[in-house]
Amino acid sequence: MINKEVKSALEACQGIKSGMTLMLGGFGLCGIPENCISALVEMKVNDLTCISNNAGVDDFGLGLLLKQRQIKKMISSYVGENDEFERQMLSGELEVDLIPQGSLAERCRAGGAGIPAFFTPAGYGTEVGEGKEVREFNGKPHILEQALLADFAIVKAWKGDTAGNLIYKGTARNFNPPMAMAGKITIAEVEELVQPGELDPNHVHTPGIFVQRIFKGQKFEKRIEQRTVITKDH
């Protein structure tokens, strides 16, 4: 097997430069590559275009990069869970491209799958469809959407092996698999890193071919954004 293990987030992020386009997995704060985000904060690269479904909160996730003004442009489906984001967006410092969530996921997958463009009904007749080619299929109008690719895709998985095979847990999977496919270089941070042969080959979600670097994250805070519980008394 091809060994892709690196020792740290900083080593994994080597080569990420100011002005690059990054994809970052996660939905809200769930399944985000915390360790690589910390490394990017430390590396102080800026002018980044970040493709990520959300933009974190003020003191966690991509909010940490926003605070240091490292992000030039966000490509997301839902943002603004943090004040600094809102301030930068309203002041025009931050460019924001909003994309329907399903189109965002599919555009990443398409990028990784060598499909340069596809038709989808989502966004037709709205400002998302403006300027895009419209075509009817089965009597229903669709718009043509283009694939997305990134210089680096950064994903977070539960378990991985040194050959880059990844298994995610629960809904922390989300955007990680399609984005893992779409990085020119894909970095995976995992909670548990094992040797090839220790993961069941039937149960791997992201085949190692899509991953160029993998490391065991030093620390996972896994912050919860909306803690909703029922009390046992009920």
């Binding site: 939905f27 809200g28 704060l29 769930c30 399944g31 479904n53 997301s76 489906s77 839902y78 943002v79 603004g80 869970e81 809102e86 967006m89 309203l90 924001v96 909003l98 329907p100 969530q101 399903g102 189109s103 965002l104 996921a105 599919e106 990443c108 997958r109 989808t120 009904p121 989502a122 966004g123 037709y124 007749g125 709205t126 400002e127 998302v128 539960w158 995610y168 847990k169 629960g170 809904t171 922390a172 999977r173 989300n174 955007f175 990680n176 698999p177 399609p178 979600h205 896994k222 912050r223 919860i224 954004e225 909306q226 803690r227 909703t228 519980v229 029922i230 009390t231 046992k232």
Partner: protein, 219 residues
């Protein structure tokens, strides 16, 4: 007497059909899960990547890796399954999800919906709403009949930027149940208990089609 949010949810729950997969939006739609009629089996899909979503976890049992599209901690029922975002929207776009219930700021008499953007205000994004409304065969909007200023949210044309065109099939509000006809127009199907047809007419700006007899909801 108009319905409260739970009443709207309860009325929408009557639309559920055994065997359906259902996506519930944030707000009133979420409450629908509390009112599933007896004998009806449905499964809830949340677009961040779960089918077979269960109730909120007990205090202390929440799992950061298990949330719904509203980012709330949830549980998974036996038989649940997790998947990635691309697969999730394959289910939605491919019309495998039979019913989508979502809120709206405005609905037009030809089924257009606006629920993601108010010009001049902070825009948070459409999330999965545009995919959901462009795809589902059955879209029910759950909302109050009028906004906080007392203005009708059922219009001839939406004034806000659209989320989708020609897609809403049914609207359930605190006052009424209305079907949107293929040729356009809100056809009044039911009144909320104690609400008069006149009240509904007064609160509706788009074309309202009223038959002689409009039954009251049975909740």
């Amino acid at each position: 007497m108009s319905l409260d949010k739970n009443g709207i949810a309860k009325r929408i729950a009557q639309e559920l059909i055994d065997g359906w997969y259902v996506n519930l939006g944030i707000g009133i739609p979420t409450l629908v899960a509390n009112h599933i009629p007896k004998g009806i089996n449905v499964e809830f899909q949340s677009e961040n990547g779960i089918l077979g979503m269960g109730p909120f976890p007990f205090d202390g049992e929440e799992d950061a890796d298990l949330i719904n599209a509203g980012k709330q901690t949830i549980t998974a029922l036996p038989g649940a399954v997790y998947f990635d975002s691309s697969t999730s929207f394959s289910m939605i776009r491919g019309q495998h999800v039979q019913l989508t219930v979502l809120g709206a700021m405005e609905v037009s008499e030809n089924g257009d919906i606006a629920n993601w953007k108010i010009p001049g205000k902070m825009v948070k994004g459409m999330g999965g709403a545009m995919d959901l409304v462009a795809s589902a065969d059955n879209i029910i909007v759950a909302m109050m009949h009028t906004n906080k200023a007392g203005e009708s949210k059922l219009l001839e044309q939406c004034s806000l930027p659209l989320t989708g065109v020609n897609c809403v099939k049914k609207v359930v509000t605190n006052l009424a149940v209305m079907e949107i006809l293929p040729e356009g127009g809100f056809k009044l199907i039911e009144r909320a208990p104690g609400v008069s047809v006149e009240q509904i007419i007064k609160a509706t700006r788009g074309k309202l089609i009223v038959d002689a007899e409009v039954p009251e909801m049975v909740l």
